[in-house]
Symmetry: C2
Subunit: 279 residues, 2 copies
């Protein structure tokens, strides 16, 4: 078995599991957290992927979002990957917004990052194949969500792989990394100065370049300290309007950027995904 | 105002607040986390206290138990104190099971602990008076819960103050600190070698010495690694049986000691408390 079980804990009648494996994509050991609902004991279940934000690991969503209760009710598996390769041989940045914990879900092309920072290949190819081979997951029914940098990940991976995901949503996503300090720093480091190479990693640029989904759901807190400087949901709103993508953008009065915000609305997202996964 | 607001975050329509204050009981700054449900905007609400376990701060329960959703529905405030005094001038133990993060909810009498480790007075007297004066809390309707060392805290504080709390419950409590390694170490350090002085800090001894409540609710996972060596719910079961206390002890098959266990059953506890707080 290529997946090692780090922990396996009962939760809402299902199993909360942390797995570890050697990744060909990143060239490092990687961890991933999986919640299997009780229904998985009887056969494969649909998969709700969640991509986390800056500084997070595979743990944050599973420990703080309170998603397992509704996932157990709806019969959805939850999968939360780590946000970057990690370890002593892996390059890092002294700040929190690049390097370890800040992979931005892209395949780096620039030294020293290109050796290990291949999170796009990891999320899009390696990890689903690995988990699908070992766990009772129905890869014909996948959906994707994320928070902040992981909201950027959910939007871009979901726009590049429209057939793989029946639903895509995000909490407080970085709507256009090409147009904010977090994204400009990270994409510049990982992909170099040619901004044309950044476009596959920018939801708004992908849409401008022709990527389509029928619909997207986004929740955004109005008291989020990163709203105007980094997240800029108005750019996604404009891109979706121009492209005829049905974006539901819920502005949540007084909510900030924390998992207390995610927890408050995760049940709505899970039910919205389940409707589309089971249709 | 004697309470300083460290953070104030919207959560399930209510407010998730971290407060800081100078404590007369411990002689240190102390932090406490409070969730105010939406109903608190219209007037005082009942209070559900939660005492956390070894290594925890005021954050663990609020971030990991997913209690706010049901508390918002039921109109209960949640209050989670820290588990000990902290800081540079505060004595500590090299292990996790004594000193900072391990106050055991007692008033230490032995040097060097007696200067700051006065968590009994803090929880029983200072903190409720302070919070009640500043927040929309109905101190006529309080209830108490806790996990592990905090389960011990909930049982002992609740047995010593039967009139203050309309309901007392616990997750995986240390049922009898006098009869397990965690308790023997901590109570020995804080209270000295005379075991008679430990009895007010042992739920089973308190009951044997005449303390009474009509009923107690306990949930305990059967796969908890501390079950036989530290927690020993059978001792509480025997003490309650002898005393005519109606103990409901739910043994949860396959659950461990983590907050994934607490999260799975916290809604049951909150509803059980609410029934008694609103009766």
């Amino acid at each position: 078995m290529s997946l090692d079980v780090v922990s396996d804990t009962r939760c809402f009648g299902g199993r909360q599991i942390t797995l570890k494996h050697e990744s060909a994509a990143t060239g490092t050991p990687m961890r991933v957290a999986v919640f299997l609902p009780p229904q998985a004991e009887r056969g494969p279940v649909p998969v709700f992927w969640f991509l986390a934000g800056l500084t997070c690991t595979e743990d944050n969503f599973m420990q703080k979002a309170g998603a397992q209760r509704v996932a157990a009710e709806l019969g959805l598996a939850l999968v939360a990957p780590d946000t970057s390769p990690r370890g002593e041989g892996v390059p890092d940045d002294p700040a929190y917004d690049a390097g370890q914990g800040a992979g931005f879900y892209c395949d780096a092309t620039q030294a020293p990052w290109s050796t290990h920072f291949r999170m796009r290949r990891y999320i899009e190819e390696e990890l689903p194949a690995l988990l699908g081979a070992e766990l009772p997951l129905d890869l014909g029914r996948q959906s994707l969500c994320g928070h902040s940098m992981g909201g950027h990940g959910a939007l871009t991976v979901g726009l590049r792989q429209p057939g793989r995901f029946r639903a895509v949503s995000a909490f407080a996503p970085i709507a256009s990394p090409m147009n904010c300090p977090w994204g400009e720093k990270a994409l510049g480091l990982y992909l170099g100065p040619d901004r044309a190479a950044w476009r596959p990693y920018d939801a708004c640029a992908l849409i401008a370049d022709g990527a389509r989904r029928a619909e997207i759901l986004v929740d955004q807190g109005t008291a989020d300290p990163f709203l105007d400087g980094q997240l800029k949901p108005g750019l996604l709103e404009a891109a979706c309007r121009d492209a005829g993508i049905a974006l539901t953008l819920n502005r949540r009065d007084g909510y900030d950027h924390s998992y207390f915000f995610v927890a408050s609305f995760i049940a709505d997202h899970l039910r919205w995904h389940a409707d589309r996964l089971k249709a």
